[in-house]
């Protein structure tokens, strides 16, 4: 800590937030509440292991296996747990299926609730005021911000994550992917299409 103080007194290269976080971490460590080495490991896991590739595997499997798809829609926590994921899924995951009639979109207007275990950390826009304020009132406007335009008769269903339930959108399988392996299908699955602000890639986009 002496080092940080020294830098601070000399007009520091460290930002105010860096100093503030280090001060808090130091106090909590000295109190015996936390082990900084455990913090390092958590950060490393979020930087390297947990991300939307986990969710993409789930979607690709649902696209290629109707039994798994039904299990996912019946109890997503249980179905995803059965895949032996790197980050284990908690109890309250719900998968919602897009159809030609209904497009699903997920938001947390009150904070930032997001299915971290399958999608990783939420992007900044998901946690931002523009998305949180508009998704429930003008979802088509939000989709336009993402360059997505849906038929005007498509029903739009917005899921506001106001409790501990977490929602994963199961997008529609793109046409022209008959006979594709799960691995190849997973390449079409973007993070945004599992939030509902995007659509899966088309086969020609990954060719």
């Amino acid at each position: 800590m002496a080092t940080y103080r020294h830098q601070h007194e000399h007009g520091s290269e460290l930002s105010e937030m860096q100093l503030r976080v280090r001060a808090l971490e130091t106090v909590l460590m000295e109190k015996g509440y936390i082990d900084p080495a455990a913090l390092d490991r958590i950060i490393e896991a979020y930087e390297t292991k947990v991300g939307p590739h986990n969710g993409a595997r789930v979607v690709a499997r649902a696209w290629s296996n109707t039994v798994f798809k039904q299990a996912l829609l019946d109890d997503a926590s249980k179905a995803v747990r059965g895949m032996g994921h790197e980050s284990r899924v908690g109890d309250h995951l719900v998968a919602v299926e897009n159809t030609p009639q209904v497009h699903n979109m997920v938001v947390c207007t009150l904070c930032s609730c997001y299915p971290w275990e399958v999608l990783g950390l939420p992007p900044v826009w998901y946690k931002s005021a523009p998305y949180r304020s508009r998704a429930v009132k003008d979802p088509r406007g939000v989709l336009a911000d993402f360059g997505v335009k849906l038929p005007k008769e498509t029903q739009i269903r917005v899921w506001d994550s106001t409790a501990e339930t977490r929602f994963l959108v199961l997008p529609m399988r793109p046409q022209g992917t008959e006979g594709w392996s799960e691995e190849r299908l997973a390449q079409l699955v973007t993070r945004d299409c599992m939030i509902g602000t995007g659509l899966p890639k088309k086969p020609e986009e990954i060719a």
Binding site: Q18, A38, I43, P130, R132
Partner: protein, 218 residues
């Protein structure tokens, strides 16, 4: 509380701007904040709704101008101090002057993955569920001064119960240190026009997850 955090339906915040190839953290300290929060939750220092409540109690101008992880950090400082885990002068100085309080457990390099799985919020039901799928319900017009998960835009509005998620810890009670006070949790769907008036998009439906005390039969 009727705070700035309750943003659903507000206008004026502008377009949603996505950052291409966004990194997990933009600054190293953001990762520290996330990991500190995980470690302190694991230790049993506070529960997630206490954390949310501390953010909601930030002054509105701070809430709007602080970055996401700045809000987390400010909320964490508040919980540390309010819960007697460190004194304000210790936090300000970045040094402990007194020994810590005993906490339930400690996150280490051996068990850190335990903090990456969300805990279960299911609790033993105290009474049968009052509503079932298909029931018409009205979200109560309530304005608790403390933490609640009933967004303003739904209050007083008529909806239909779609899913019953079982009995869960009740955030309004947890955040005010009143224990879990388990309550039934439902997904309730509202028509866009019910929420936003006759000019709203007729293809829109919005659902919230509502605890039983937020609802009345309609």
């Amino acid at each position: 509380m009727d705070g700035i955090h309750d943003m659903g339906g507000m206008d004026g915040f502008g377009k949603v701007v996505a950052e291409p190839n966004e990194p997990p953290f933009h600054e190293a300290w953001e990762g520290r904040v996330l990991a500190l929060q995980r470690a302190m939750s694991y230790a049993g220092a506070w529960q997630i709704d206490m954390s949310r409540s501390a953010q909601e109690r930030l002054p509105p101008q701070v809430y709007l101008t602080a970055s996401y992880y700045q809000r987390w950090e400010l909320a964490m400082e508040r919980n540390v101090i309010e819960r007697g885990l460190a004194d304000a002068d210790e936090v300000a100085a970045g040094h402990a002057k007194h020994a810590g309080k005993p906490l339930k457990r400690k996150l280490t390099t051996d068990n850190f993955t335990d903090s990456m799985t969300r805990g279960s919020f299911y609790r033993q039901a105290q009474a049968p569920a009052r509503f079932k799928p298909g029931d018409r319900v009205r979200a109560r017009n309530i304005h608790p001064a403390t933490h609640t998960r009933l967004p303003r835009y739904a209050r007083g509005r008529l909806g239909v119960v779609e899913l019953v998620h079982g009995c869960h810890a009740f955030p309004d009670a947890v955040a005010t240190d009143k224990g879990d006070s388990p309550q039934w949790l439902y997904t309730v769907v509202f028509e866009g026009r019910e929420l936003w008036g006759p000019d709203a998009d007729t293809t829109l439906k919005v659902s919230i997850d509502a605890f039983e005390p937020y609802l009345e039969p309609a």
